[in-house]
Symmetry: C2
Subunit: 432 residues, 2 copies
């Protein structure tokens, strides 16, 4: 009896076209991250549950793939890359230089209800700069976020940023600091629910007057400078946090990239965890998709595991959502359905070593060349090239003469005859 | 109270130097695989236990990370890449072209006793060609195995190959075919236990005369041609299998690579699964490490899941063992401890945008350039560059003049003054 070849709900296979595109996008991100001096790390998929859950409780708990291993240890699959990074830093900071900049691109697992477009196994791309609390590190993360999208061909983006320290100070002035978490949650919903609902919610929490001040605070003005001036005033004047925002905006202006950044005090990122700048990234041409890259500054990454204080700033891209966005924007490497650039046709097994010798020379010239593995009818080999999406075909004429190759463009059906292997390589590169 | 930042036995963190080297080796393999037209795929880490275990039983069962998920499904983490590939082919062969050549580089999980150098989470690199039973596909896998090591800088390797069909025919002639599995297991141990023990074991199984014939069969002769002649004779003469071996050896000779291949009839690969050629790869300079790449031909990949007959040939490299081998051979990319090629020093926050502008131009020239994020003492910045392993430093002079850069080689302590950004890029490339 056959076993049904099914896979778990919320999990996926990646066929060559999809996996090739994932790898292309990953490679662009990796190159961008390394361009800024961020180094790759990796951590285990499976960890002690105690380490992953920390204080634990809440939503994360329910989503966890948790079990007892063969040694009866309580273990779980990682549900994000932040917690393993905190554990990693606590374990290794003695062996590392600070500030330590790392990126980590890996699968994470959450057994949540899988809605449309939500997966239980998905890939996150995290990058953090840890060990310094300076404006320069904040600025660099924002630059790197912008450059990641530019390098993927997306120019129309806006990074919305805010500062949790300034917001907290404004709340303290209102005597509402003890309600901070609830207020953050209420404000965080403004893009979804609209101002009316947030006003009602805030009014119930801290009274109508304070609600009005909070709504004034979170409304962006016409320019970043005006927004900064307003939130500085509502927070009670300049301090280190507002000066840092001014410094960062000044550097953006000097680099002529301020148009990509939008000071938006309604950005709060909900989580209690953040203490400094916070940000989300929106694609102008795909407003409905939500933020494609978000994060912020935290003042202590690894406090669960070590007394060493590790302030940092970081950001995370969800690869799956990014790939969906690139597809909608038409920014995929279209047509690259197969790695193979040229198929060497197989006419006779007697000449098989010569086919492979030609393919070898093409590969040395940097091309991807495959040899059809048996002497089947040409029609079959053409059909194979068509199905695999191979653009060019190479024929090796029988007999050992020079210039015995002919190249056929399988798209235009043009043929170029009497080529040497090196001439063929040049002609292939011209046509790709 | 702090949580100890420990990880599970048999699992590892990869710090930047190790992870960078892993990625370099992966990239070489991926480029080699794609050069031969093998396309990447991916499958889930977690699958239904029923799908992964198939007929199940035996060792695999005990090593499995198996549990019930939140929906009470019986699930398990993949323990190899072959079973998921079989399930993948059964599910998708309608949407694929045949022969289908794929590679898959991914982590697998086995909860076995972790001896020295054995991990519970490790990375396999599998490549298979499925949907054809032809000599050309066998030859291509062998070529690709060889080329993978050559591209990693390893020339001194020998791929030992044999043919299970020829061996089985020799056993049938001895009337010992029903003992095939036990005989295969006994022969498989000859490199570890020596001929004496195998002779005793075979004698007990099928008598002293048959044992002698089997020992004659599995002994390699001085040349591949002589070995082929002998096993052909002991199997009862030429047939399709011996003709295929002759064809493959002939193609190797024509491509002048026969020295990398060694017809070794003692190679059996133990598993019942293989039906045609089988092979293991040994590094001449590291005989003790065992096979670094092995596999063979099977006549039906996905029979557990589909009636579609899918013959194929494939091979697998254990990335962790390969990395250990490369390190012992001194074939690592030594000295590349960090992605950063040049550190832009930060002297004054007023010039911070200029530092990033210089870094941006260097990145556009293909270099990895990071800016130190704050205006700390130069001694601190030099110490940071030293610890991170950054070879070059760039200083941007105050004031907005042209040619305001000076480049310092942090290894030789030489300095080149008065460079434009493009001149600096050229000088950096010259020195790397």
């Amino acid at each position: 009896m056959l076993i049904e070849p099914k896979i778990l709900k919320g999990f996926r296979d990646f066929l060559p076209a999809a996996e090739t595109e994932r790898r292309r996008v990953r490679a662009v991100l990796e190159k961008t991250f390394e361009g800024f001096g961020f180094a790759p790390i990796d951590t285990p998929v499976l960890e002690y549950t105690e380490v992953l859950l920390g204080k634990g409780g809440g939503e994360t708990d329910k989503q966890l793939y948790r079990f007892r291993d063969n040694g009866d240890r309580d273990v779980a699959m990682r549900f994000d890359l932040t917690v393993p990074f905190a554990r990693f830093m606590a374990a290794h900071f003695h062996d590392l230089y600070l500030p330590f900049k790392r990126y980590h691109i890996a699968k994470v697992f959450r057994g949540e209800n899988s809605q449309k477009g939500r997966y239980r196994e998905f890939t996150q791309c995290d990058f953090d700069s840890v060990g310094t609390d300076c404006a320069g590190a904040d600025f660099e993360i924002l630059l790197l976020m912008r450059q990641s999208f530019v390098n993927l061909g997306i120019q129309n983006l806006r990074i919305h940023l805010s500062h949790r320290g300034v917001f907290n100070r404004a709340l303290r002035r209102l005597g509402a600091e003890n309600l901070c978490v609830d207020i953050l949650r209420a404000v965080d919903k403004i893009k979804k629910t609209g101002e009316g609902e947030v006003r009602a919610c805030l009014g119930a929490l801290c009274g109508d007057a304070a609600a009005q001040t909070i709504l004034d605070f979170i409304r962006a003005e016409e320019t970043n400078a005006r927004t900064l001036a307003k939130i500085t005033r509502l927070a009670g004047g300049e301090d280190e946090d507002t000066r840092r925002l001014a410094l960062i905006l000044g550097w953006m202006r000097a680099m002529d990239i301020e148009a990509s950044f939008f000071l938006d005090p309604s950005i709060t990122r909900g989580l209690d965890y953040y203490t400094g700048i916070v940000y989300e990234t929106f694609l102008t041409d795909l407003p409905g998709i939500g933020s494609v890259c978000s994060g912020g500054r935290y003042n202590d990454l690894a406090s669960l595991y070590t007394k060493e204080k590790l302030p940092g700033v970081g950001s995370s891209i969800g690869l799956d959502r990014l790939l969906a966005a690139l597809e909608e924007l038409g920014q995929t490497a279209a047509g690259r359905r197969s790695p193979t650039q040229v198929l060497v046709f197989c006419t006779s097994e007697n000449d098989f070593a010569r086919y492979h010798e030609a393919a070898r020379i093409l590969r040395e010239a940097g091309l991807n060349a495959e040899v059809y593995p048996e002497a089947r009818k040409q029609a079959n080999q053409f059909a194979f090239a068509e199905k695999k999406g191979i653009p060019l075909g190479l024929f090796v004429k029988p007999g050992a003469g020079e210039n015995s190759l002919s190249l056929r463009d399988l798209r235009s059906r043009e043929t170029v005859e009497a080529l040497s292997p090196l001439q063929a390589a040049a002609e292939i590169k011209r046509r790709l």
